[in-house]
């Protein structure tokens, strides 16, 4: 293999000037936005509709932290993130009947459905997991997103230990127990999916007979 071409210090300096120019031009527009002013704008800009009430724009501690991209990059922010993870972990409940694995056929249907929880959804609409929106799961399903990692062969690759069962259960229930600003919704925390639905999604991932593990 050829060694890297040597780049002169001058070029590095020029590159960093150009890079910081982007930051500088942004900062010309910088003006402080007070929490009070922002919160006022949010509260005056929304109304309740259908099942979507105004409680949805009142942020909890997790949402407040993860909305503050600047603070997250500081030492204090990183510390707060660990605290938030602990708080989320503490709310997770293990299955009431002790079963981690349900029915994978039903799990696939839940993973496919992106329905529910919007203001056009009736209260009775069964909320889906929307899993394929972000993940590859069964390789046969070509229409999948890439916001989350592929879950193909999830159990096959990792084994079927009790630790993995618990970890996966926790992750689906409340992903922010492991990553404070994970993009994945907290399915149990906000009562989006029922215990049975989560057991079925678990089966999709961790039943050795599931198509995902073939």
């Amino acid at each position: 293999m050829k060694p890297f071409k040597k780049i002169s210090y001058g070029t590095y300096f020029l590159m960093s000037i150009i890079a910081s120019f982007g930051l500088v031009t942004n900062s010309f527009a910088q003006v402080a936005v007070s929490d009070a002013a922002f919160t006022k704008m949010v509260r005056e800009s929304f109304r309740a509709e259908g099942i979507a009430g105004l409680d949805r724009i009142e942020q909890d501690a997790t949402q407040k932290l993860c909305s503050d991209t600047k603070f997250l990059m500081t030492k204090a922010g990183a510390k707060q993130a660990i605290e938030i993870q602990k708080q989320n972990m503490a709310t997770i409940q293990q299955p009431s009947d002790g079963n981690y694995i349900g029915d994978w056929k039903s799990g696939e249907a839940i993973a496919q459905s992106g329905r529910g929880a919007t203001w056009t959804d009736a209260k009775e609409v069964v909320v889906g997991g929307g899993c394929y929106n972000c993940h590859e799961i069964n390789k046969k399903e070509l229409s999948y997103g890439n916001i989350g990692p592929s879950l193909w062969n999830y159990g096959k690759n990792r084994g079927y230990s009790k630790e993995l069962m618990t970890y996966t259960w926790n992750r689906i229930n409340n992903s922010k127990a492991y990553n404070a600003c994970s993009n994945m919704p907290r399915f149990a925390h906000f009562k989006l999916l029922t215990e049975k639905q989560i057991q079925d999604v678990m089966a999709l991932l961790l039943d050795p007979n599931s198509p995902v593990n073939q």
Binding site: M1, F28, A29, Q30, V31, A32, V33, A37, F38, M41, V42, E44, S45, F46, R47, A48, E49, A52, G53, L54, R56, I57, E58, Q59, T62, Q63, C66, S67, D68, T69, A117, T118, W119, T120, Y132, N133, C134, L142, S143, Y144, G145, N146, I147, K176, N183, P185, R186, F190, K191, L192
Partner: protein, 270 residues
């Protein structure tokens, strides 16, 4: 297993080939979609809305029985050419930053006597909102091909941009979604729908420069306000009030990020 140097090189070539093939597959799909878009660009039903909008601009309406021909969209009364490219902007007469829809509501109210509230309350695509769709189509067509040219000078414009950045990152609702959840990293997609990274100029113009647009899948013309409305619905947030500051702030954030990019509206979407 220890890899001997020569096997490692072959391995790298294999990986590179596979990656290249996958990439070219993805690229040829993207090319085909671009070809399809070019084919259907002729006969964009947005033109029907634009025609209707031009008529509404020139037709006397409302209790004052006046036209919109004196409406000041930021470049002086009645000037439509290039106006949309400069919005949102600060307006002295209302002392606030306004996007196209809220500025049109101001004009409808002051010139024609049509209450802004009646437009806000109407359902999308019905009555006053249907008229609004057409007028928006008309106005944005007159900025097609221009560069986004949104001012950052006025303190309220600066403030609106910062509010918009904060609104973009605002996590809420039972899914903890913010705009950033989907639109802040390149190469993301939901199912097979590519998501522009709106924090960058290229991503911002692909969104800001293409809406309002005619959506083939629903046969509807959507203004930017309606597009933002549906995003917030899918984020599982409550209903954003039409023309509210939160929506204008988001528009300001997107528009400024898109500054210098070419406007393609009215667009044609799947």
């Amino acid at each position: 297993m220890k890899l001997r140097p020569i096997h490692f090189q072959r391995y790298l070539t294999c990986v590179a080939l596979v990656f290249f093939t996958l990439n070219t597959q993805a690229q040829s799909t993207a090319d085909e979609i671009a070809k399809y878009r070019e084919m259907i660009a002729d006969g964009n039903p947005s033109e029907l809305y634009e025609m209707a909008g031009e008529e509404l601009w020139k037709k006397p309406a409302g209790p004052k029985n006046a036209t919109l021909e004196k409406c000041d969209l930021g470049m002086g009364p009645g000037i439509v050419d290039g106006a949309a490219a400069r919005l949102p902007k600060y307006f002295k007469d209302t002392n606030r930053v306004q996007d196209l829809e809220s500025r049109l509501m101001t004009c409808m109210e002051t010139l024609q006597g049509i209450s802004a509230q009646s437009v806000i309350d109407a359902k999308f695509g019905v009555g006053p909102k249907k008229d609004m769709d057409a007028i928006v189509a008309y106005v944005v067509t007159h900025s097609k091909g221009s560069k986004v040219n949104v001012s950052v000078k006025h303190p309220k414009e600066k403030m609106m941009y910062e509010m918009g950045k904060r609104a973009f990152n605002f996590q809420g609702g039972p899914y903890d979604f913010s705009c950033a959840s989907c639109h802040s990293i390149p190469g993301r997609r939901i199912r097979l729908q590519d998501l522009p990274d709106i924090t960058t100029p290229e991503g911002a113009i692909s969104g800001w420069g293409y809406w309002p647009a005619y959506r083939v899948s629903s046969g509807q013309f959507w203004t930017m306000q309606q597009r933002i409305n549906d995003c917030l619905r899918q984020q599982r947030l409550p209903f954003p009030i039409y023309g509210s500051d939160f929506t204008i702030a988001l528009s300001m954030y997107m528009a400024q990020n898109a500054n210098g990019g070419i406007i393609q509206t009215p667009g044609l979407k799947r």
